[in-house]
C-alpha cells in the first residue's frame, strides 16, 4: 500500500508536468487552432535559460526563473510571427509541419550553441523532501504539484473572471465575430502564444532538476502532453489537466508493476486505446461537419 501511495505521488508529480505542457497546447489550439509540435522545445528552452542565468551567470535561482519566464514570453511572440503567422490562412497541416520545422531548428540551434552533454541543475529548494510514514514526498515533485495547481487556478480566474479572459475566449470561439466586436484578435493570439511559451518554459524549469537538462529532454514530454490532451478531450482545459495527471500516474504505476523498459509505451498505448474507443476523450465533444 505504501508503495502504491509512493507511486501515486510520483505519478501525480510527473503528471502535473504533463498537465502544464498540455495546457500550453490547449491554449494554442483554442486561440489559434494551432497544433504546436514545438511545444516541447519551449520547455527545453526554458530549462536552458535557467541553466544560463543560474549555473553560468550565477544569478539568484528565483530571479533566474523570473527572467527566463519573461524571455520565454517574448520568444512566444517571435515564434508566432515566424511559424504561425505566414501560414495562418492555409489550414492545419502546413502549420503543423512548420511547427515541426521550428522544433528541429530550436533543438539543433541549442545543440550547436551548447553541445550535446546534459547539464545538472539544482531544485527549487535545498530540502530533499518530507517523510510521511513510508511515503517520501520529494520537494521538487511537491513544488511541481503546488505550482501547477496555482497556475491552473490563476488561469481559471483570468479566463472566467476578467475582461481579458473573456476577450481571449471570444477570440478562440469565433475570430471573425470577435474582431467585429472590436476585440484586437491579433493581439489576443500573440498573448496566447506568449503565455503558452512562458508556461511551457516554466514546466521545463520545474522538470529540469529531475531529468538533467539536455537538447531532447522535452520531446517525449511534449508528445505525452499532447497524448494527455487527446485523452482528456481535444482542446478541453479540464481535460488537459486530468489527462496529464492520469497519464503520469498510469505510466509510473505501469513502469513499476509491469515493465520498466516499456515505461514510455504506456502513454501511447493508452492514447491508441482512447482513440479507438472514445476518440472525443474524457471531456471532448463530438464534432460533425455540416454538409
Amino acid at each position: 500500500m505504501s508503495n502504491f501511495l509512493q507511486l501515486l505521488f510520483n505519478g501525480l508529480g510527473i503528471g502535473a508536468i504533463y498537465a502544464l505542457v498540455s495546457l500550453g497546447f490547449v491554449l494554442l489550439i483554442r486561440a489559434a487552432s494551432v497544433v504546436n509540435f514545438g511545444q516541447g522545445e519551449f520547455s527545453m528552452l526554458g530549462a536552458y535559460l535557467l541553466v544560463v542565468f543560474f549555473n553560468i551567470f550565477g544569478i539568484n535561482y528565483y530571479v533566474s526563473m523570473a527572467l527566463s519566464i519573461v524571455i520565454m514570453a517574448g520568444f512566444g511572440v517571435i515564434f508566432a510571427y515566424t511559424t504561425y503567422w505566414p501560414l495562418r490562412f492555409r489550414g492545419g497541416l502546413p502549420v503543423i509541419i512548420s511547427t515541426i520545422g521550428a522544433s528541429i531548428f530550436l533543438e539543433n540551434l541549442v545543440l550547436v550553441l551548447y553541445g550535446p552533454s546534459s547539464v545538472q541543475i539544482d531544485g527549487l529548494f535545498d530540502a530533499d523532501g518530507i517523510q510521511i510514514g513510508d511515503v517520501f514526498l520529494a520537494t521538487q515533485y511537491l513544488s511541481i504539484i503546488v505550482i501547477a495547481t496555482i497556475l491552473v487556478v490563476l488561469q481559471y480566474l483570468v479566463f472566467e473572471k476578467t475582461l481579458l479572459g473573456k476577450k481571449l475566449q471570444a477570440t478562440s470561439q469565433d475570430k471573425e465575430m470577435a474582431s467585429l466586436l472590436g476585440i484586437p484578435v491579433v493581439f489576443m493570439i500573440l498573448i496566447t502564444f506568449a503565455y503558452s511559451s512562458a508556461m511551457g518554459g516554466l514546466a521545463g524549469m520545474l522538470v529540469a532538476p529531475l531529468l538533467f537538462v539536455s537538447v531532447n529532454m522535452a520531446g517525449i514530454i511534449a508528445l505525452k502532453a499532447f497524448a494527455a490532451n487527446i485523452i482528456g478531450g481535444y482542446g478541453s482545459i479540464p481535460g488537459a489537466i486530468l489527462g496529464g495527471l492520469a497519464l503520469g500516474v498510469i505510466e509510473t504505476m505501469g513502469a513499476s508493476y509491469i515493465s520498466v523498459p516499456y515505461k514510455d509505451a504506456f502513454a501511447f498505448a493508452m492514447l491508441l486505446l482512447f482513440l479507438m474507443v472514445r476518440p472525443q476523450g474524457l471531456f471532448g465533444e463530438k464534432i460533425s461537419e455540416k454538409a
Binding site: I104, L272, A291
Partner: protein, 585 residues
C-alpha cells in the same frame, strides 16, 4: 480495381526503359564505398518517401510513421536472413507483408479520426515500435542492432557487389516512382485525391472514403518496407535509432521539400536532402538547424514543394489541350415515366438531441418528374437531403430508392445505386482539374462505364459538353468562378448517369444571369426525362421547372401537390409570410 491494373500495365514499356537506364547509371557509379553508400541511402529512402506521396500527397492523410515501416522492412530482412537463414527476397516479402498489415491497421484509425488525431496515432505507433526494437532483445538484438546482413543472388546473378546492389535499389526506386505516377491517374488514385480534397463530396460521388484511406495507408506502408528491406541489404548493419521518430520527420521533410503531389518531387526532395548535406560537410554542425529552418521556409514560400513549383510552370504552358469531341448519349433514362416511385420516404425523422429537424416526413418522387422541396429557413430541407443521401443517419422512418430499402446504407453505397447530389455550399475537388472532377462522377461503381477508362473519359467530356464547360476541362477547378464550379458539380453528378439527382439550393450564391442559365439547364435536364429533387428558395426557379412541390415547415410536411395548388395553400402562405393577425372583435 480493374481500372487500376490496366492503366498500371500500360506503363510497362516506359518502366522497362527506365529500369535499364537505372542499371546503366548504377554500373557507372564510382565503385567506392562512400559514393555507393550515399546513392543506396538516397534510392532506398526515396522509395519510402514515395510511400508518403501516396498517403499524404494523394490521399491527404498525415502519417508521421514512415520510418517505422522502413524499419519493419529493414528488420524483417535482417532477422529473416541472419537469424532464420531465409532467402533475402523471401524475408523481404514477409517483411513487406507485415508492414502492409500494420499500415492497414493504422489506416483503420482513420475511420473516425483525421488531422492531428491521425498524426498522433502514427507518432504513437512510431514510438512503440522504437521501444520494441530496442527492448525485445531476443528477437531484434536490441540496441546493438543486427550485423552482417547478406546481399542476395537474383536468378543466379550475384548482387554482392556494391554496383550490382545499387542497380537493384535504383531499379526498385524507378519502378516504385512510376507506379505512384501511374497510380495518380487511375480510378483509385483519383478516389484518393477526391478524399483528400473533400471527403463528403467523395462519399456522395460513390467513393468508399474509409476503404480508400485504408488502402492508401497500406500502399504507403508497403513502399516504406520495400525501401527499408533494400536499405538493410545495402548497408549490412541496422540498429533501432535508424528508424526513430526523428527519421520519420526527415522522410516527411524530404516529401514536402520535393513536392508531396508527385513521386518525382519525392525523388528530388530525397536526393537533395541526402546529397546536399554531404557536399556541405562544413555545415555539419548547424546542418540540422538549417534543415529545420528550411522546413518553415518551404512551407511559407513553396507550399507545393520544388516539384510543385516546376509542375505549375509546365501546366501554365500546357493549357490549350485539344480533346476529341464525340457526342454521346448522356442521359438514357429507363423505367416507367410518371408512375414509378424512384424515391419514397416514409415517416422519416432526424432528431438532434431534443431538436426535431425532420419530424415524420413522407412523400414520393416519381420517375421523370422535377420535384421541388421548399420551406422557410430552418424548416429541415437540408437535413432532409443529408438524411436521404446518407450523410446523417435517420432517427426513424424508411427511405426506399428504386424499390429497395436504403435507410441504413452509407453515402457511397447510395450513390452507387444511382443517387447523386450537389451541395448548397459547393463541394468540388479543388486540387484536381475540371475533367478529373467529372471523371470521378463517371467512374462511380454501378455506372455503365465505371470500369472502362476510355469510356469514363468520353462520358466525362459529354457531361462537360452538356453544361457547356468543355473549354475549361484542363483548368484547376479552384480557378473557376463560383457559378462555373456549380456547373462542374452538376456535371460530376450527371456523368454518373444517376436515376435521381438531388440539387441542394443550386441557385444559392448565383447572380441573375447565372440563375437564368441554371433555369435553362434544369429545363434541358427535364427535357431529357431526368428525375430531379430540387431544394431551393428561389420561387421563380421552382415555379419554372417543378412538376410537383412538397413544403416543409418545422421539420413537418405541410403541403404536397401540384405547384398551383401548393403555392395557394393557406398553410404555405402562412409559413412564408407569417400568420395573419387575428382581429379582435
Amino acid at each position: 480495381m480493374n481500372g487500376l491494373s490496366t492503366s498500371i500495365w500500360r506503363g510497362l514499356p516506359q518502366a522497362g526503359l527506365a529500369a535499364i537506364i537505372a542499371i546503366g547509371l548504377a554500373m557507372l557509379a564510382p565503385d567506392q564505398g562512400y559514393y555507393l553508400n550515399i546513392l543506396m541511402q538516397a534510392s532506398t529512402y526515396a522509395i519510402a518517401v514515395v510511400g508518403l506521396v501516396v498517403v499524404l500527397g494523394y490521399c491527404g492523410q498525415i502519417s508521421i510513421a514512415q520510418a517505422a515501416f522502413f524499419g519493419i522492412g529493414a528488420y524483417g530482412v535482417a532477422i529473416g536472413t541472419v537469424d532464420y537463414g531465409l532467402n533475402f527476397f523471401v524475408a523481404m516479402l514477409i517483411a513487406v507483408g507485415v508492414s502492409g498489415v500494420f499500415g492497414l491497421i493504422l489506416g483503420l484509425g482513420s475511420l473516425r479520426l483525421g488531422g492531428h488525431y491521425l498524426a498522433m496515432v502514427s507518432i504513437s505507433f512510431q514510438q512503440i515500435l522504437t521501444l520494441v526494437l530496442t527492448n525485445w532483445i531476443e528477437f531484434t538484438h536490441g540496441p546493438d542492432g543486427i550485423r552482417n546482413i547478406p546481399r542476395p543472388r537474383f536468378f543466379g546473378l550475384s548482387l554482392q557487389g556494391g554496383n550490382a546492389f545499387l542497380a537493384l535499389c535504383l531499379v526498385a526506386m524507378v519502378l516504385v516512382a512510376l507506379f505512384a505516377w501511374r497510380l495518380k491517374a487511375t480510378k483509385l488514385g483519383r478516389a484518393m485525391q477526391a478524399v483528400r480534397d473533400n471527403d463528403l463530396a467523395a462519399a456522395t460521388s460513390g467513393i468508399d472514403v474509409f476503404g480508400t484511406k485504408v488502402i492508401a495507408f497500406g500502399i504507403s506502408a508497403v513502399l516504406g518496407a520495400i525501401g527499408g528491406g533494400l536499405f538493410a541489404g545495402g548497408f549490412g548493419y541496422i540498429s533501432p535509432d535508424q528508424f526513430s521518430f526523428a527519421e520519420s520527420i526527415v522522410l516527411l521533410t524530404m516529401a514536402l521539400l520535393g513536392g508531396v503531389q508527385s513521386p518525382f518531387g519525392a525523388l528530388i526532395g530525397t536526393m537533395l536532402l541526402i546529397i546536399l548535406p554531404e557536399t556541405l560537410r562544413f555545415l555539419k554542425q548547424v546542418y540540422l538547424a538549417v534543415y529545420g529552418a528550411a522546413v518553415i521556409l518551404i512551407m511559407v514560400f513553396l507550399p507545393d514543394g520544388l516539384w510543385g513549383f516546376i509542375d505549375d510552370r509546365i501546366r501554365r504552358n500546357a493549357r490549350a489541350i485539344t480533346l476529341p469531341a464525340p457526342k454521346l448519349p448522356l442521359l438514357s433514362q429507363t423505367g416507367q415515366m410518371g408512375t414509378e416511385k424512384v424515391l419514397e420516404v416514409a415517416d422519416l425523422a432526424k432528431h438532434f438531441g431534443g431538436l426535431k429537424a425532420v419530424d415524420g416526413v413522407s412523400f414520393a418522387v416519381r420517375r421523370g418528374s422535377v420535384h421541388a422541396l421548399i420551406g422557410p429557413n430552418g424548416s429541415g430541407k437540408s437535413t432532409f437531403i443529408n438524411v436521404v443521401t446518407g450523410l446523417y443517419v435517420a432517427t426513424a422512418g424508411k427511405i426506399s430508392f428504386a424499390g429497395q430499402d436504403i435507410t441504413t446504407l452509407s453515402p457511397h453505397q447510395r450513390n452507387r445505386r444511382g443517387l447523386a447530389r450537389t451541395f448548397q455550399n459547393i463541394r468540388v475537388f479543388r486540387g484536381m482539374t475540371v475533367l478529373e472532377n467529372v471523371m470521378i462522377g463517371a467512374e462511380r461503381d454501378g455506372n455503365d462505364v465505371a470500369n472502362a477508362p476510355a469510356e469514363v473519359l468520353t462520358r466525362a467530356l459529354a457531361a462537360l459538353d452538356f453544361v457547356d464547360m468543355r473549354a475549361d476541362a484542363h483548368r484547376m477547378v479552384g480557378e473557376l468562378s463560383y457559378g462555373h464550379q456549380r456547373y462542374v458539380e452538376i456535371a460530376r453528378a450527371l456523368a454518373g448517369s444517376p436515376d435521381l439527382l438531388l440539387l441542394d439550393e443550386p441557385a444559392a450564391g448565383l447572380n441573375m444571369t447565372e440563375k437564368v442559365e441554371l433555369g435553362n439547364l434544369l429545363k434541358r435536364l427535364k427535357g431529357h426525362g431526368l428525375t430531379i429533387l430540387i431544394v431551393d428558395h428561389d420561387m421563380n426557379l421552382v415555379e419554372q421547372v417543378a412538376d410537383h412541390i412538397t413544403v416543409l415547415n418545422f421539420g413537418r410536411r405541410i403541403a404536397d401537390g401540384a405547384p398551383g395548388d401548393v403555392l395557394r395553400h393557406p398553410d404555405v402562405i402562412a409559413a412564408y409570410l407569417g400568420e395573419p393577425r387575428h382581429e379582435v372583435a
